[in-house]
C-alpha cells in the first residue's frame, strides 16, 4: 500500500494541469465552469488542441494516436481535465466508435476514419436507443436489409445526443430478424447523417435545452463496406463500447468543481445577516457530499491502481452508480444555495440575479439524465447484485 503518487506521476499530473490550464482557451473553460452551453466550435477547437498534443485519445492503440498509459495515468489525465473545466474529447468519437473501429474495423475503415475521429474532423453520433429499446437495448427494431451492394435501413433511433452537430452516425440495426436470441441478429453500420432518407428531429428537454434528438431512417442506402466487423456480431461491439471507460463516468473532478462553486456561492448569500456558508446545516450538507466524493475518488484510485491481471476490479461497478448520484447531489446543492434566485432561469439583460444562480435549475433538471444514461443506475444495481453478490 502506498498513499503518494510516484515522483514520475506527480510530474505527469503537473504536466497535465499546466497544459489544461494554459493551452485550452480561457473562454471555453469559463463556459464549462459556468455550466453554459458549449458550442460545436468550442468542442472542436478544444479537441484539436488536445489532439495536437496527443491528449485527445491516449487510450487508443499507439498506432492510431494512443499513448500506452496505465489506467492510473488515464485517471489523472481525465481528472485534471475536469478540474480545469476543459470540455472532454467527444465521447462518441473517442470512447465509443473510435475504440470499436480500432478493435474490430478493417484496415481500410481504420485509415478512413480514425485520424479524423481523433481530431473531430468527423463528428459522430450514436444510433443505439429506440422508443421501445431503452435499457432493454437488444429489443431494437431498426432494420437493415441487404439489397445488392447496399444495406437499406428503416426505422427510428432516439436520445441521439448532439446529433444536430453530427456528420456521421454509428447505428445498431437488426440484420437477422429470425435469430433465435435477439442479441444475435444485430449489426453495426456507419453512415453520413446527410444520407438521403435520414431525418433529425430535436427533442426539447425539461431545462429548455436541445441536446438530444430523434433520428428517422426511411430507405437509407448504406454501402456494404460501411458494416463494422462481422454481420450479426453488433451486440458484441455494443457491449465492448459500453464497457469502455467505466471509470471515467464517475466524473469526480467535475463534481469537485461544483462543490468548490457551492462553497464560494454560499459565502455570497446572506441569511438574517449571516453568510449561508456559516449556517451549520448548510456547512454539514456540503461537508457530507465532499466526504462522499473523497470516498468515491479513493475507490476510483483503488480500481485504477489495482495491478490484478487486467480483470475489472469488482468495485468499479460502484463508480457509475455513486458518481452519478454525487453529480446530482452537487447540482442540488447549488440549486438550494441559489434558493429564490434559482427561479430566474431565463432572465436576460436587466436582471440583477447572478449568472451562476440562473443556471442552477436547468442544470439540476438536466442532470437527472446522469443516473439514466450509460446504463441506468437500476441496471448498475442489477450488475452488482448478479455478478458480484451472485444474487
Amino acid at each position: 500500500m502506498r498513499l503518494q503518487l510516484s515522483p514520475e506521476l506527480e510530474a505527469f499530473r503537473e504536466e497535465m494541469r499546466t497544459f489544461f490550464t494554459t493551452q485550452v482557451p480561457q473562454e471555453i473553460r469559463d463556459t464549462v465552469a459556468a455550466h453554459r452551453h458549449v458550442s460545436k466550435e468550442q468542442y472542436v477547437e478544444t479537441q484539436r488542441v488536445l489532439n495536437a498534443a496527443g491528449l485527445a485519445v491516449p487510450h487508443w492503440p499507439i498506432e492510431w494516436g494512443g499513448r500506452d498509459w496505465t489506467p492510473l495515468q488515464r485517471h489523472i489525465w481525465r481528472e485534471e481535465m475536469q478540474l480545469a473545466n476543459v470540455p472532454e474529447p467527444l465521447a462518441f468519437n473517442t470512447s465509443m466508435i473510435g475504440p470499436v473501429l480500432a478493435a474490430f474495423g478493417n484496415r481500410e475503415q481504420k485509415e478512413r476514419f480514425l485520424a479524423k475521429t481523433a481530431n473531430l474532423d468527423i463528428w459522430w453520433c450514436q444510433g443505439f436507443s429506440e422508443p421501445d429499446a431503452g435499457s432493454d437495448l437488444a429489443s431494437l427494431r431498426t432494420t437493415a436489409v441487404r439489397d445488392g451492394d447496399d444495406w437499406v435501413v428503416n426505422g427510428q433511433k432516439t436520445w441521439t445526443t448532439l446529433g444536430q452537430h453530427a456528420d456521421w452516425i454509428f447505428c445498431l440495426v437488426r440484420t437477422d430478424p429470425t435469430a433465435e436470441k435477439k442479441q444475435r441478429g444485430i449489426s453495426l453500420l456507419v453512415f453520413p447523417m446527410d444520407s438521403p432518407g435520414v431525418t433529425l428531429r430535436p427533442i426539447e428537454l425539461v431545462d429548455g435545452g436541445f441536446e438530444v434528438n430523434e433520428v428517422f431512417f426511411e430507405d437509407v442506402r448504406v454501402p456494404a463496406e460501411n458494416l463494422i466487423g462481422e454481420e450479426n456480431r453488433g451486440w458484441d461491439y455494443a457491449k465492448f463500447l459500453l464497457g469502455n471507460e467505466r471509470v471515467g463516468i464517475a466524473r469526480i473532478g467535475s463534481t469537485k468543481r461544483m462543490l468548490a462553486q457551492a462553497k464560494e456561492h454560499a459565502r455570497e448569500i446572506t441569511v438574517d445577516g449571516r453568510s449561508l456558508a456559516e449556517d451549520p446545516h448548510m456547512a454539514a450538507r456540503i461537508a457530507e457530499v465532499e466526504n462522499e466524493l473523497v470516498a468515491l475518488e479513493l475507490t476510483a484510485l483503488r480500481v485504477v491502481a489495482n495491478s490484478a491481471d487486467g480483470k475489472p476490479h469488482p468495485a468499479s461497478s460502484v463508480l457509475k452508480l455513486r458518481g452519478s448520484e454525487l453529480q446530482q447531489a452537487a447540482t442540488e446543492l447549488l440549486l438550494d444555495i441559489a434558493g429564490p434566485l434559482s427561479l430566474a432561469s431565463f432572465a436576460d439583460d436587466g436582471s440583477d440575479i447572478p449568472d451562476w444562480a440562473r443556471v442552477t435549475t436547468p442544470h439540476y433538471l438536466n442532470y437527472r439524465k446522469v443516473s439514466i444514461y450509460g446504463g441506468s443506475n437500476e441496471v448498475q444495481r442489477t450488475i452488482i447484485a448478479g455478478s458480484i453478490l451472485g444474487l
Binding site: M1, R2, L3, Q4, L5, S6, E8, L9, E10, R13, E14, R17, T21, L72, L83, A84, K256, R257, L259, A260, K263, R267, A277, P280, A283, A284, I286, A287, E288, E290, N291, E292, L293, V294, A295, L296, E297, L298, T299, L301, R302, A305, N306, S307, P314, A315, V318, L321, R322, E378, Q380, R381, T382, I384, A385, G386, I388, L389, G390, L391
Partner: protein, 391 residues
C-alpha cells in the same frame, strides 16, 4: 510498488491469512462466540494468549519496547479479521488505545513494563476516558488528579470503560492544572471500585470510581494532543473492525437471499431485495476505500485526525445502512439471539458509539469545510510531500 496503491504486500497477505486462521478456529460459528461472551470477562483468555503468541498484541510497538515494530496497516488487517467473526477480545482497546498512549507519552521504563506485558499477553491495559454526561471529548472533566508528594491521586468516575473490570492496569485521563493528564492506575489499587456489566454487543464495560486512588503520571503537563491523536488512530482501527463485520453481514445476507424460499421461490428472485443488497455493497466498498486510505495517511505521517474523521463518517453511515438492512432482508430470524446477523448489527452499533458517531464526525468536518476549495486525498494535509499545489 512505486505509486499509489491499495494492495497488501505478500507479508501483509500472510499476516491476514494467519489471523484469519487463528480466529476461524476460535470462533468457527456464532454459537462458540455466544458461549464465550456469556461468561466473564466476555472474551476467551486462551484466544488472547494465542494472539500474543502470534505477536499480534505487540504489533505496533517498537521492538525495544517488546513489540514487532509494525505499522497501522498491519493493525488494520488484524482489526478487520476481528470484525469478520466478531471476536470479543479487547485488541483495539488494549493495543491501540491504552498501548498507543503509553507508547506515545510513557517513559522508557513504563513502555518496557506495560507494552512488554501487553505484547506477552500478561497485561490487559485499558484506557479509562469516557465520563457520564459528556461525549467523545479529548479532555477529561469528571476525574481530577491531585499531586501528593512524589505521586498522584485520582478522584472521580469514568464510565463506560470497555473491559474496565478485567483490566490489569488502567490508563486514566484526569484534570490537571492546565489541561488533561494521563495516569496509570493498577487494578488492585486502593480506592478503586469497579462495577462491570455486560454490554449489548456481548462485550463488557464498567463503572470505575476513583476515591483518592494512587496513580503514576505517564507524563507531566497537558496530554490532550496525544489523546486526540490516539483516539484518531483507534477510530481508524475500529473502522477496519467495522469493515470486517459489514463484510460478513453482507455475505451472510446474500447467502440467505439465495437459500430462503417464500412464495415458492428463493428470495433472490425479488428485485426489491437484491437492489437493496447491491446498495449495501456500494456502502461497504466506499467505506472500505476510506478506511484503507486513513491507515495509509497514518502510516505516511499525514493529518491523521482529519483522515480519521473522514473514515469515521463514511464507516458510520455504512454501518447504520448495512446493519439495519442485514436484519431487514433476513426478516424475523435477524432479530433472534440464536442467529448471527443481529449480533453484527449490535457490534456495529457499539463501534459507532465508542469514540464518535457519524454526525459527530460530520460536525467536525463541517467546521473546516470552508477552509479549503477542494480535497486532494493524495495531497496536503494527508500525504506529506504528495500532491500538486492547489490551483
Amino acid at each position: 510498488m512505486s505509486s499509489v496503491n491499495f494492495d497488501y504486500d505478500s507479508e501483509q497477505n500472510d499476516l491476514r491469512e494467519a489471523v484469519r486462521g487463528l480466529l476461524a478456529r476460535a470462533y468457527a460459528d456464532s454459537e462458540q462466540r455466544r458461549t464465550v461472551v456469556k461468561a466473564d470477562p466476555g472474551f476467551d483468555e486462551k484466544t488472547w494468549s494465542r494472539l500474543a503468541e502470534m505477536g499480534l498484541l505487540g504489533l505496533p510497538f517498537a521492538e525495544e519496547d517488546g513489540g514487532m515494530g509494525a505499522g497501522p496497516v498491519e493493525v488494520a488487517i488484524v482489526a478487520e479479521e476481528i470484525g469478520r467473526v466478531l471476536a470479543p477480545e479487547p485488541f483495539i482497546e488494549t493495543v491501540v488505545l491504552a498501548g498507543g498512549l503509553v507508547a506515545a507519552v510513557g517513559t522508557a521504563e513504563q513502555r518496557a513494563e506495560i507494552l512488554g506485558g501487553i505484547a506477552e499477553g500478561t497485561t490487559i491495559a485499558i484506557f479509562a476516558h469516557a465520563e457520564p454526561g459528556t461525549r467523545w471529548s479529548s479532555t477529561a472533566a469528571g476525574v481530577t488528579a491531585t499531586q501528593n508528594g512524589d505521586g498522584w491521586t485520582l478522584t472521580g468516575v469514568k464510565e463506560p470503560v470497555p473491559s474496565g473490570a478485567r483490566a490489569d492496569v488502567l490508563v486514566v485521563s484526569a484534570v490537571v492544572d492546565g489541561g488533561t493528564g494521563l495516569f496509570l492506575v493498577q487494578g488492585d489499587a486502593e480506592g478503586l471500585t469497579r462495577t462491570g456489566y455486560r454490554t449489548h454487543d456481548g462485550t463488557r464495560a464498567a463503572h470505575v470510581r476513583f476515591d483518592s486512588t494512587p496513580a503514576v503520571a505517564l507524563d507531566t503537563g497537558d496530554q490532550t494532543a496525544a489523546i486526540e491523536r490516539t483516539l484518531a488512530e483507534a477510530r481508524i482501527a475500529y473502522g477496519h473492525e467495522a469493515i470486517g463485520a459489514m463484510d460478513t453481514a453482507l455475505r451472510t445476507t446474500a447467502e440467505y437471499l439465495k437459500t430462503r424460499k417464500q412464495f415458492g421461490v428463493t428470495l433472490n428472485k425479488f428485485q426489491a431485495l437484491t437492489f437493496r443488497a447491491a446498495d449495501m455493497y456500494v456502502s461497504l466498498e466506499l467505506a472500505r476505500s476510506t478506511a484503507l486510505w486513513a491507515s495509509m495517511v497514518q502510516e505516511a505521517g499525514g493529518d491523521v485526525v482529519s483522515a480519521a474523521d473522514r473514515a469515521r463518517l463514511q464507516v458510520s453511515r455504512a454501518s447504520r445502512h448495512i446493519g439495519k438492512e442485514a436484519i431487514q432482508l433476513h426478516g424475523g430470524i435477524g432479530v433472534t439471539a440464536e442467529y448471527s446477523v443481529g449480533h453484527y448489527t449490535s457490534r456495529l452499533t457499539a463501534i459507532d458509539h465508542l469514540l464518535g458517531d457519524g454526525d459527530w464526525a460530520l460536525a467536525r468536518l463541517a467546521g473546516t469545510v470552508a477552509d479549503h476549495e477542494t480535497v486532494d486525498p493524495l495531497g496536503a494535509p494527508y500525504a506529506p510531500g504528495g500532491g500538486v499545489a492547489s490551483a
